[in-house]
Amino acid sequence: MNTLAERWELEPRPTVCVLEDYIGAQARWCPGCGDHSVLGAVQRLARDLQLPPERTVTVSGIGCSSRFPHYMKTYGFHGLHGRALPVACGIKSRRPDLNVFVVTGDGDCCAIGTAHWIHAIRYNMDLTILLLDNNIYGLTKMQTSPTTPIGQHSNTHPQGSQLPPLNPISVTLGIRNVSFVAQTVDWNPPHLYATIRAAYEHKGASFVRIFQRCPHFTSNIFAKAQEDPSRILMMTHPGGINLDPNMARAFPNRIEHDPSDLSAARALADREDVFTIGLFYRSAASFRYDHQTAQGLGATNDEKLAALRKALDRFLVS
């Protein structure tokens, strides 16, 4: 038998995919929700890179943001709350030929799914992980999330959240074997697009946290940053995420940051006075678990049967 990969190469794609080829069901998010921009960016990216829709899988958990797969015309997996990452890793484990995007929310990733988040970063399988962080539980109607700022009112903390929020970037940068960490905002399409594209093109687990507006529950949080660009700090570097100079003008507040410098990345991530966007860290040298999980994929039936007989022979008593 040919390996699967070989068989697919035999069939050249007959047609060019247009944007419509990636657009699934009509998105049901609220008007003004940042999720729309992320969806658009991913669809454009898929078109620009001509990702075969049948070989692209969008995996999510549960939440408003996790509705994402329904709105793509790729294969989709709308799973359980908090559990998108194990599923995505499982898909990738024996199907290295599939492009896998993971869409998760701040509750999905940073509360119920925390264990999987940490370990998926450590496994460093080739996934593009998009954390749509609106600082709130949207779907279940405005409960505090791990990233909700202190003082923010919610239905579970009507007096305002008291706990210091968890910083997803700092956490991710603290995980050994991390290979790609970036941050962006949903309301600047060029930066959003460039970030997701860099993440997709990186081989390994790419973690992108996207500040995502929720017009209903957290409109106050990102409004300041939207109105006052000086509250945003854009990291720049030849090896980072770069905008065309016209577009870059939207972010006058910049800092040069070398994405191979992990300590500098951690220091920048810890800053609480600004929304820092761009590429924090990238390493091509991190261990890839998917290289290990895919071992033995090409084994033929004859090889398997021979090995099986041998394995059974070890238990022979006569």
Partner: protein, 639 residues
């Protein structure tokens, strides 16, 4: 110091071996002294000799228990017979104990009877510590008072002559002695030892052979006991293994390529085995961060076309329930092996129970029909894995395989499986998907449908745990959910329709029918056989499919005056005023069968943390039969 046993005894006369058709041997030591290896080797030698064999491990409760402690008893029970042996039996005929404390542990477990031959290491009588010498001699006196036939043997003392690490040699010396005791061919024994130590090099083989031969010689020169269990050498290639190894090999034979797991006793050893053997057939074991991640990972791989397996025990099953429900809802083929242990909670982590049947059936929220199989023998542990993958794919559903700690650690010989290409999974279908076909194009009669697998052009759809229609679109209209539930449930009825009615052990009618499932098969049938030999009208039936249940049960039950289950899970006895037939809680299979057949099925179940011996079952059945005889009619108030 007292004279050692060796000096005290004179060389006995050679006596011809006593012929027995079955015997039970136990070897117990401190953990780390290798009594388990000794037992396994002895079992393997007997199997090669053509005896029926059942080996179970005696497992200490702790990883590194203190030496010479009851909690630290570790070892094996080996039951050998002239015919196939299906269970660990009742009382030990012969026990080899490396110290008196571990023997106490076996006495506490009820493993011995008056008259059991005990071979006890007498080297303790020479111990420099007075307290130990006293403990030893007090115990020997106590054992004799209790009626055990104690023979003191200088195990460690003899080993010292051969090796300067006698603690690590005792097991091979005892193996030699055992083989002499059981009249086995020394060449057979030597070659088994060579096989076992070949990897460790010539010196190890030499040392162990020397120990073995010394034990052999010592037995011939110093003891009069000799047994012969007639054997008929197997005419077909025979393998011997434990249930977890059988599950591992069955997974390999099924063509599954991925096992995702999180360590938990007593399931872990299956993954240990796979971790070393799986790569040879191109498979991979993923050790996940927890049980939820393990099943999620397996579901991901299955969804992408490689049906996968996850292996766990009760607490892990509890964590996996949400994902099992998802796999039912989204119709993802998946195999879940549950090697049951004692529950609830951490329960009895190393001990057997059949307590997860209802959790497997019902633990997921909502209605989640799934297939549940229970192998009853080690051979079935192997073959059921092949069946499980095929059922999972054919019926597009999770399949739970319920094994237990008794099967997991028991060893039994069976014919070497003739592996077949037809057992392996077919390659992932990557042809174009017919755009006209919905991703859940349920056949209205059977509920069956074919799934698009990522990579198939025009097959794109979104798998979802939300209620959905055949296009996998979220159900916003009433009626869709009803129909989808019907379709998923229908598959089980269709499978039930394709199964045969279970076969009875014994006559097709009578006073009492015993129903069991899982690893109790051998013990129940042995109990039934003993009673039938005394003309009791009792039969038994053992279920392999628990969801859907095998067909024809109601008709079969109607031919018996009373039907009862025998299980290793909890049920209340009837003890008024509180425990009446109405308030009493039934064992798990009994609950299921009562609901399924509307027959007033009784139960007898126990949770001792060990397999039910056939003698105990026999006793209980015999009491029931007496009640039935006396009362002349079926009556619930049997106890």
């Amino acid at each position: 110091m007292k004279p050692s046993a060796l000096e005290a005894q004179t060389t006995p006369e050679r006596v011809p071996p006593g012929i027995v058709d079955q015997h039970i041997v136990e070897i117990v030591s401190d953990s780390g002294e290798g009594a388990q290896t000794c037992g396994q080797s002895f079992g393997a030698i007997c199997a090669r000799n053509g005896n029926g064999v059942w080996t179970v491990e005696i497992i200490p409760a702790e990883i590194e228990p203190p030496a010479r402690s009851r909690a630290g008893a570790s070892g094996s029970r080996i039951r050998i017979g002239s015919r196939p042996v299906t269970n660990a039996g009742d009382f030990a005929d012969v026990v080899f104990a490396f110290n008196e404390q571990v023997l106490y542990s076996r006495i506490d477990s009820g493993a011995l009877r008056p008259g059991t031959l005990v071979f006890l290491d007498s080297t303790w009588a020479e111990n420099p510590i007075g307290e130990i010498r006293d403990m030893y001699s007090d115990a020997v006196a106590d054992f004799r008072r209790r009626g055990y036939a104690v023979t003191e043997i200088p195990i460690e003392r003899q080993c010292r002559k051969v090796t300067n690490e006698p603690r690590r040699g005792k097991n091979m010396w005892v193996l030699g002695m055992l083989c002499a005791l059981y009249d086995l061919d020394l060449e057979l024994v030597r070659s088994e030892v060579e096989k076992r130590f070949a990897k460790k090099g010539g010196a190890a083989v030499e040392k162990n052979r020397a120990l073995l031969e010394d034990g052999w010689k010592w037995a011939l020169e110093n003891t009069a006991h000799r047994f012969h269990v007639p054997a008929s050498p197997p005419d077909k290639p025979t393998v011997a293994m434990n249930g977890n190894q059988a599950i591992g090999l069955g997974i390999m034979a099924s063509g599954m390529e991925l096992c995702a797991m999180y360590p938990i006793t007593p399931a872990t050893s299956a993954s240990h085995f796979l971790a070393s053997a799986f790569p040879q057939v191109g498979g991979f074991v993923h050790q996940a961060e927890d049980e939820i991640a393990a099943i999620g990972f397996a579901i991901g791989a299955s969804y992408a076309g490689r049906t996968a397996v996850t292996i766990t025990s009760g607490p892990g099953l509890a964590l996996k329930t949400e994902f099992i429900g998802f796999a039912v809802m989204a119709e993802v083929p998946l195999v879940i092996v549950v090697v049951q242990r004692g529950g609830p909670s951490t329960g009895l982590p190393t001990k057997i129970e059949q307590g997860d049947l209802l959790a497997a059936l019902y633990a997921s929220p909502g209605d989640s029909p799934k297939i549940i199989l229970a192998p009853a023998t080690i051979e079935e542990c192997f073959h059921f894995m092949v069946t499980a993958r095929k059922l999972a794919e054919e019926f597009r559903t999770p399949v739970i395989v319920l094994s237990d700690a008794n099967l997991a650690t028991g060893q039994q010989p069976f014919p070497k499986p003739e592996v077949s290409e037809s057992w392996l999974a077919s390659p992932i279908d990557q042809s174009d998907w017919d755009q006209e076909t919905a991703p859940f194009a349920w056949d209205p009669e059977t509920g069956l449908s074919t799934r698009p697998i990522p990579g198939r052009r025009h097959g794109q759809f979104v798998l979802t745990g939300l209620a959905h229609d055949e296009h996998s679109h979220v159900a916003y209209e009433s009626g869709i959910n009803q129909r989808a539930m019907e379709m998923r449930s229908r598959k089980l009825a269709v499978l039930a329709g394709s199964l045969l009615a279970p076969r009875l052990h014994g006559a097709g009618e009578g006073d009492l029918l015993v129903v069991g499932w899982g690893s109790t098969l051998g013990a129940i049938e042995e109990a039934v056989d003993r009673l039938r030999a005394r003309a009791a009208k009792v039969s038994s039936l053992h279920l392999r499919f628990l969801s859907p249940l095998e067909p024809g049960l109601k008709r079969i039950f109607s031919r018996f005056r009373q039907v009862m289950t025998v299980e290793i899970n909890y049920s209340d006895p009837i003890r008024p005023p509180y425990l009446t037939p109405e308030t009493r809680r039934y064992s798990q299979l009994a609950q299921l069968l009562r609901a399924h057949t509307l027959v007033d099925i009784d139960c007898w179940s126990r949770v001792p943390g060990s397999p039910l011996p056939p003698g105990l079952i026999e006793q209980e059945l015999s009491r029931r039969l007496d009640d039935i005889q006396r009362e002349g009619t079926h009556n619930e108030h049997t106890r």
